[in-house]
Point group: C2
Chain length 350, copies 2
């Protein structure tokens, strides 16, 4: 994109803590607020009506912590239970547990949750690690939910409807790949929850880098402009990303078929993507590999082929599963395919 995504910041810009004292989220750069809402409107993946609050965070990780704080209460006699259906994102348990808060506690797999107590269910959709499209599973009265929609973008999954949950998380790192910028955002319906999240970010880091926000605003803005540009020559960002992901998944599935059942991969239903206007496949950011021949898939891949993956137990399931990144650079991805193909040979003895 050359100069179109370039940011230039001179020495005396952006010195204040404050970005917009008129906004509930006083540390949110108005340009970023605007770029986020515009992009969601263009893509159609989340409801961003003007009455929704946008809260920016140091990555969506900080916003997950902010939501635990906002959805819990010091007035409850016991910490609120935090659950997610296995396989769940491997960082949720640690993020929930590590400060040993009396406000909330990790309570494991939502599929097994049977306590008659207050709870927060974390729903990741498309799911990390397995790419499945998900909703809440506990569905008890008074239950609260955090919807982590980091991967709900057209390069990963068909955009079938505008998500419209009470608290939704997105992140620059998964929307565009800019992980080093550390910009996430929450879309929140309730003003009291939004205000508690702002308080959390104030007390934990007094806001979010304005340089990072400026850059995210610029890049998200350029992407939205291209998506809306009817005269655009070539693909827009999401079409480009979807084509790359689709090619990678095609190669991986082809390898899987040749492997005679050594590994298996999840299957995803096609869906009508309102963004592209056609039926599309899911092309998740991770391949959720199941070994049909050994008990520990992570160890097999590491020991036999020097492929680093993250095993099932990190995600609350057994070790026949492991998570493989589909987002490496081309040269690494080709190497991954080569090494996976070689394992097939080893295991089958040919």
């Amino acid at each position: 994109m050359g100069d179109r995504c370039k940011v230039v910041i001179v020495g005396d810009e952006f010195m204040s803590y404050f970005c917009n004292t008129m906004n509930l989220c006083w540390f949110l750069l108005p340009e970023l607020d605007n770029a986020i809402r515009t992009l969601h409107r263009v893509v159609g993946n989340a409801m961003v009506d003007d009455d929704r609050f946008i809260i920016v965070g140091n990555g969506s990780t900080q916003l997950f912590h902010a939501l635990l704080y906002a959805l819990s209460s010091p007035d409850l006699p016991e910490p609120i239970n935090v659950v997610a259906a296995a396989p769940f994102y491997s960082s949720y348990p640690e993020e929930t547990k590590f400060l040993r808060s009396k406000l909330y506690k990790w309570a494991g797999d939502a599929n097994c949750y049977d306590k008659d107590e207050p709870y927060i269910e974390v729903v990741t959709s498309p799911n990390n690690p397995d790419g499945s499209i998900r909703g809440t599973v506990v569905n008890r009265e008074g239950g609260k939910a955090i919807h982590d929609l980091a991967y709900y973008w057209p390069q990963y999954a068909p955009i079938t409807s505008k998500a419209d949950h009470d608290a939704m998380l997105f992140t620059f790192s998964k929307a565009t790949g800019h992980a080093g910028t550390r910009i996430g955002w929450a879309i929140v319906k309730d003003k009291v929850i939004a205000a508690k999240m702002v308080k959390f970010i104030e007390v934990s880091s007094i806001g979010v880098s304005r340089e990072a926000q400026l850059r995210a605003a610029k890049i998200l803005g350029v992407i939205a402009d291209d998506c809306r540009n009817l005269d655009l020559k070539g693909e827009n960002f999401f079409e480009y990303g979807r084509r790359l992901m689709s090619e990678r998944w095609g190669k991986l599935r082809e390898l899987g078929m040749k492997s005679n059942g050594v590994f298996s991969l999840p299957k995803y239903p096609r869906g009508y993507c309102k963004f592209t206007g056609e039926y599309t496949d899911s092309n998740p950011a991770f391949a959720w590999l199941k070994s049909n021949e050994v008990l520990n898939c992570e160890n097999l891949l590491r020991d036999e082929s020097k492929i680093i993956t993250r095993g099932g137990p990190s995600f609350g399931v057994d070790s026949t599963y492991t998570r493989v990144s589909m987002l490496s650079r081309d040269v690494e991805f080709e190497l991954l395919l080569e090494r996976l193909a070689a394992i097939k040979g080893t295991v089958n003895g040919n």
Copy 2:
């Protein structure tokens, strides 16, 4: 400084989570590590030998949380006590308490601390709010300390020696005024503590914005270059800042003398500043005002003169004290002086 402090970032730079996988603090930009160490060597305000670890954070606020985590232990039967001598920085109690951690708890004024239990003493020097130079006051065997040296720069205080504590905090916002960038750093002796801090920042925000780090590196680097430049025309950054602060304190003290004892201000000893090579005064970032005539100094200033300050109780002392910022823009500072002068008239009835 014009273009010298300008940063330019193109669209595909800085995309990875990782800044330096060879470093314990894998999310610290090597340019920032280098700029921080160089600046401390030039100013002489902190020991930064190569065996010290530099940990970057989303402001020193996040590093304060990281230190509470790193200095506490899940193996202790009770939360560790966190104390600071009053008047202490008003955010420490809330930062310590708000997540209701079982790892640490706020235990108030260090001057009154008499428990025979593990503790962490937070020492801010020069102190916020009162500008005093401080050391630990509890001094019990096994006690741990966090030294917050945010204001230990030549514009605020004479640099009398290189600080050399186990865990020291600094922040870009107070060194140069760039509060919106959200960059703080810790200088830590012990590798285990440093590693726990890195873990904290990983779990709470997966690192620190690379754009923010790049900008801090650039600006701190330019300041260090000028300080070392024997051919520099005009003042370096700290000489400039010290002159401005000294002029403001001169005006405020003059007003104080004319006020016939309505208000009083702390007095600070002159010290030999090794950076400037001369005896200099302290010119703190805040004026710690004591009212000699009314019980609530914050209310007096707000109600009579629309001067917003932060009252003594926020800092653990009585309401005859209040904290006034000395870092506003020139036009606001002149207005502050005018309004303070008018109060004198009101109170004295002339």
